[in-house]
Symmetry: C2
Subunit: 178 residues, 2 copies
DNA sequence: GTCATTTATTAACAATTGTTATCGTTGGAA
DNA sequence: TTCCAACGATAACAATTGTTAATAAATGAC
């Protein structure tokens, strides 16, 4: 997965992209499968999630302007550790892993920018992980509310709960605690 | 940080490395500082940890043969999110970020291999994170015991506890529960 | 060997969360 | 509009963990 894909990159290689419209709750990638597509969100929102004994745990939300893919899956040829699913009806621009590789090979600037972006992503992923290690669910909820209020407003609460690592019951308690 | 550094890589560029011997509990990198060195463990063991209100949380352990650095720090020029510290007296081989860059530029094979390794590292980091999301501390402890018994044997228990995300008191209870 | 520090166990209590279930409310599909 | 599924709140109870403190054992420095 990958956020903040430069829009000029998108424009520069726009002929590679194909538009795809999907309704809500559409699975774009199944956990365990090797990713072959990158999605760029024009309208709507997606989430990534992992299965845990039948219950699902949301790991991230994506919105307009975000690029989403299991890039580490199609780069390492390993099965994706998570699923990608639409939460709303979406308008997406899709790019195949093959075309992605082609652009990589054709454009050293693009390759360089991808490399930089991976390190930044890695750095961000660590920040998220450490916030998870350091803070209680209550504090994480408060931070989410403060930093990304649009997520809390837009996404059903039980997805937020699993994103915070708690049940929807527990999140409901936290919300009505004050 | 980076595990399973190829030993032939080390040999090939061995003249860049300098040996460093440190006693236990030596800070090799302070959280918040920009990393300028990569460490290769010849003998001993290191840990990475983050500070949380005075208490420290261990995020990873490293042993003989592992390469350790805040590579995402010296690549993105961002402050390291964690500290690196020796747990035992260590014999280390050190490589400066500058020399590391030099080797990167001199050897396309090395650069390619670094790129691949980063994607694998990213994939592994996700697995660790997801195991954290999915499992109880008890289950994580059992998995650690099963997959990496040498860590449990070699490292003091309170470091293991913070690595599992619990207090040493709670780990002691888990251990004596059966 | 002695002493101080580090490490691990145990107890008691508070706080939080999970689980299960019930009950309104809402929103979309037919 | 009607109906059904999805969503959110709440209650009651069990289970786990955190906190603080006391104590014992192990380790390392001298």
């Amino acid at each position: 997965m990958d956020t903040s894909f430069k829009s000029d990159m998108l424009k520069q290689f726009s002929h590679y992209f194909k538009q795809l419209e999907v309704p809500a709750k559409t699975m774009l990638l199944q956990e365990g499968q090797i990713s072959r597509t990158m999605y760029f969100i024009e309208k709507g929102c997606l989430r990534t999630w992992v299965n845990n004994d039948g219950k699902d745990i949301t790991t991230q939300f994506f919105f307009e302007g975000d690029a989403v893919s299991s890039i580490e899956s199609f780069r390492t040829n390993q099965p994706s550790l998570y699923s990608i699913e639409s939460l709303e009806p979406c308008v997406l621009q899709t790019l195949s892993a093959k075309d992605f590789q082609e652009i990589l090979d054709a454009s050293p600037e693009f390759r360089k920018s991808m490399e930089d972006r991976m390190f930044k992503r890695f750095y961000q992923a660590q920040q998220i992980f450490y916030s998870y290690l350091k803070n209680t669910p209550q504090k994480r909820y408060e931070e989410l509310l403060q930093q990304y209020p649009h997520i809390v407003q837009r996404v059903p609460q039980h997805y937020i709960a699993s994103y915070l690592g708690i049940t929807s019951v527990s999140l409901s308690r936290i919300r009505n605690r004050r």
